[in-house]
Assembly symmetry: C2
Homo-oligomer: 556 residues x 2
């Protein structure tokens, strides 16, 4: 296996690895649920992904002299111009990306994919691109869903996809400080395994974990399911190295500093527009002695949200605070395997008890709280949380559903391909807002999506969970789906835009942790103000006057 | 009293309010301590601050047309050109500032001081300055010690000091979210009183608290004595408004967001170079049910540092982690009032016990840990901390010294004027570095200062405490003093430079929370790398192409 072959990529047409797909044979409630939710009959014959041979891939502009110049830097075997590699590096994995691939929409693909071995080679590639006027798009795991990876459709210059996959080592652990220096191309499971081998964990588990990289997390301001405890990537990333045409930005790992506007925070979220992130020094932690995810039921989503805030403010400081609205709670129960989680007998008994308590089971909200630390501390946390749950009318239901959640949390993206095979589109949008705004935001986002579905005369679905809690507010994470009609792209855009606009109009941000790319950039001025965008534009234009560094992303 | 007269300023020649000064009549051990430490005999006749009449204040360049144009915006009474007001607005309160004022060194002072009433007036002043090509220097409490406020000595243009003192209201508290919208000119005690009246606290208590403003804290990336719990100002400030020549940057309060390079983190620490911060939405907290500061002794500073790390990593999560080296511990004991804190009888008994335990009392390190929350949680925290203290060979000594520390923490800056009256200079320098680097950094900073003193043939003093703990490292805060000779400025520069260079050479940052100004800017390239400075320079130049916004600060 060559170095390049050792770099793992997802399917060119969908999420995840070949041979793995969502199925519902063991989830008896799933098909009826989908029929009711979006009117899709899963018993009907499904379509299938396209054949690669059916795609019309534009010819590469990386002619022999370009390839030769690149090969002189990274070696001939590390310069790839074949169609499948170029297509794999064209998009991320947003629903629009998946739909475009299936429809063979490829207005512009990278002309060459290069696989540098180290920072020196990256520096040489960047310098070469600057000299020649080629466009550079850094590529990590390719899991982005905001359009941060795609070439501009009308780009006349040579476009190079810089695949970071060979830079995947944990280089060094400063055990005394809890700091690990890691190459930017390391994917989640790989870097976590390297850390685990030495007794450490990063504690960063975004839903994309299995197919995303450290450099990608930093470039998009990622957040993970245990970020309540471990912090978002912006907290975790203490030191950085980023290659620019004139040299390398080196930010040494520091716990905190007052050295002017934060260059660290300029690089975090920069999506390749300031340079190529090659190395990140991150906070790492000793694996906790005990870890458990407890499930709770609340009578309503509103009660659950208020409980999450109280828990976040309490002395418990859990690792996960999560609560789903009634629809998502119903969805979770529908996607359970017949034999797992709370058995249906127990569930039925429990539901009877709740009805006797006066709960409307249509409103039930499922919550997960994570606990970590010494056993005595986990016990202390659970006592505090139990009291708050009771005060908000909730009920503990044990670790069964939580264990299930833990196991399947990274499988959800596979469902999108399953649904696309059957003519339905599913996507996610997330935001963050102050606690006082969440209920209004939630109500208006649901109404906006319903309005969009109604205007199409279509039955659509939208569900939500609170995924991260902060002192000042929380992240609300929406999932939506509908059966597509004659113009899937326009229909998708209608629903997606309605949701994004409702975020902004209700004091939320356009994205809590999925970044901006091209998907969210139309809302940037509304989010951070015209003058805020002007400051950012000044930074990009001064840092990249010839627009060779992933141009067109974040702001136009 | 006019609006302008209601704005409080510190003494033009020194720290704090008129009539308040450091004295040692009730601190019997202070004079012997100072004699031993720096060879200064406090029984000798002291000098005194200069008379204002002795200063040669350069004439204002704000002639009648300038004043008239400004008056048209803010009103005639709010445009001040008298010499004392201009001198008050020339410097902050660094030791170099105090020395320059005493020596009558005033190469350039602001030509006019204006006191806008609100953001609209600020916007009009900024637009006017942009049109006319005047330089604008925003002024909060004037407590800065990094040279962030001083005009460039060779500035030929009209310089306006924009005093924020009339913008001091807590405008709104979002009680459901724990967010308060506060005008940038509000000083510490004023805003804290407004919050306390409604049951809230900001929890931000820098040493400058009594004379610094919210806008100043944000503009300099401030940190306070309880930041371990409440966060640094960069964590606390969630929403911002900043006036620029073309309009206002409006960042709505958000718990977190992934909208590209953080404009919020560009404004934090910008020291006036990007615009005028007018309003900040900050995280506020309910006042804790219980709050106490416990004191501990450790056999050595090294043991104390290791204990602080273990406490920071533990589940206790205290509000303060602080430990002083042996010298500073000795200084603290020497500045005690005869009748306060641990009485000398108790101290003597305790010291005997420690000696019997085998402690070298010359190495003793005094530590303070802060606890906050429900009484049961404070008890829980204290149990965890007590165990860690024991594991590191330390000993609890109760709340007496902690209460004393709490009372006198804001009085320390007065000592500098007291010493200047007697021919000695005292200053502070602080840094942050990973845990693994702290001991080496400490040793080398002490050696660097001693080396500087030795090269002058002078007896000098340097002491240190750890003031803030993070997962990845901590802040070390150094205080140094020496009797000045023929060329106090060169002597000071020698010592200060040796310390700063040792920070950088030992993996520390040039400042943890005092910002950059002109004092620290020579080390910026060494701290954040040449390419890091290039990114920052691009931001400043694109945001302020005519260099009217506090030019020359942070980077040249």
């Amino acid at each position: 296996m060559t170095d390049v072959e050792s770099v793992k990529h997802m399917k060119w047409w969908g999420w995840g690895v070949e041979g793995v797909a969502f199925h519902h044979a063991d989830k008896p409630n799933f098909a009826p649920f989908v029929l009711k939710a979006v009117g899709l009959d899963l018993s009907k014959q499904a379509g299938s992904p396209p054949e690669f041979g059916d795609l019309k891939v534009p010819r590469t502009k990386a002619l022999a002299p370009v390839r030769k110049a690149l090969a002189a830097v990274v070696g001939e075997e590390q310069v790839i111009v074949d169609d499948e590699a170029r297509v794999v590096h064209t998009y991320g994995k947003s629903i629009r990306d998946l739909m475009r691939i299936r429809a063979g929409i490829l207005p512009r693909v990278p002309d060459a994919v290069v696989y540098p071995a180290d920072e020196d080679e990256i520096a040489a590639v960047v310098a070469l691109a600057a000299k020649k006027g080629w466009v550079l798009i850094p590529f990590g795991g390719g899991s982005n869903i905001a359009g941060s990876l795609e070439p501009q459709p009308d780009e006349p210059r040579v476009i190079i996809s810089l695949d970071m996959g060979r830079l995947r080592l944990v280089l060094d652990i400063d055990e005394e400080s809890g700091l690990a220096r890691i190459q930017a191309g390391a994917q989640g499971p790989d870097l976590e395994a390297q850390l685990n081998d030495r007794g450490w964990t990063l504690g960063h588990f975004p839903d994309s974990f299995t197919h995303s990289t450290l450099g990608g997390w930093v470039a998009t301001r990622s957040s993970g399911m245990q970020s309540d405890k471990y912090g978002d990537i912006a907290d975790i990333a203490r030191g950085l190295r980023m290659v620019r045409p004139e040299g390398v930005v080196v930010l040494r790992p520091l716990p905190s500093t007052s050295t002017g506007p934060s260059v660290r925070e300029m690089i975090i979220g920069s999506e390749g527009r300031l340079g190529v992130i090659t190395e990140v020094t991150v906070q790492v932690h000793r694996k906790p002695a005990q870890r458990e995810v407890q499930a709770y039921f609340f009578p309503t989503f509103s009660a659950g949200i208020k409980a999450m805030q109280a828990i976040n403010e309490s002395d418990a400081k859990p690792s996960i605070t999560r609560v789903s609205d009634a629809r998502e709670s119903g969805f979770s129960l529908a996607t359970r395997k017949a034999s797992k989680g709370i058995s249906s007998v127990v569930t039925k008994g429990l539901m009877t008890v709740l009805e006797k308590r006066g709960w409307n089971l249509e409103e039930l909200a499922l919550s997960f709280i994570g606990f970590e630390g010494a056993p005595s501390h986990v016990a202390y946390q659970k006592r505090i949380v139990a009291k708050i749950v009771r005060q908000h009318g909730g009920l503990g239901v044990g670790t069964g559903p939580g264990a299930l959640y833990d196991q399947k949390k990274f499988d959800t993206p596979y469902i999108r391909d399953f649904l696309l095979d059957r003519g339905a589109a599913a996507d996610v949008s997330e935001t963050a807002a102050p606690w006082s705004k969440l209920q209004g935001l939630y109500d208006n986002v649901i109404a906006a999506a319903e309005g969009a579905y109604a205007s199409m005369g279509r039955k659509g679905w939208i569900m939500c969970h609170l995924s991260h809690s902060y002192h000042a507010g929380a992240c609300l994470y929406f999932t939506f789906a509908f059966v597509t009609g004659d113009d899937p792209f326009a229909e998708y855009q209608l629903v997606k835009s309605a949701i994004q606009q409702a975020f902004i109009d209700n004091d939320g941000t356009l994205s809590h942790h999925h970044a901006v790319g091209v998907e969210h950039s139309p809302w940037m001025e509304q989010d951070i103000s015209t003058e805020g965008v002007a400051l950012m534009r000044g930074l990009f234009e001064s840092a990249d006057p010839y627009r060779i560094l992933n141009p067109g992303k974040i702001i136009d």
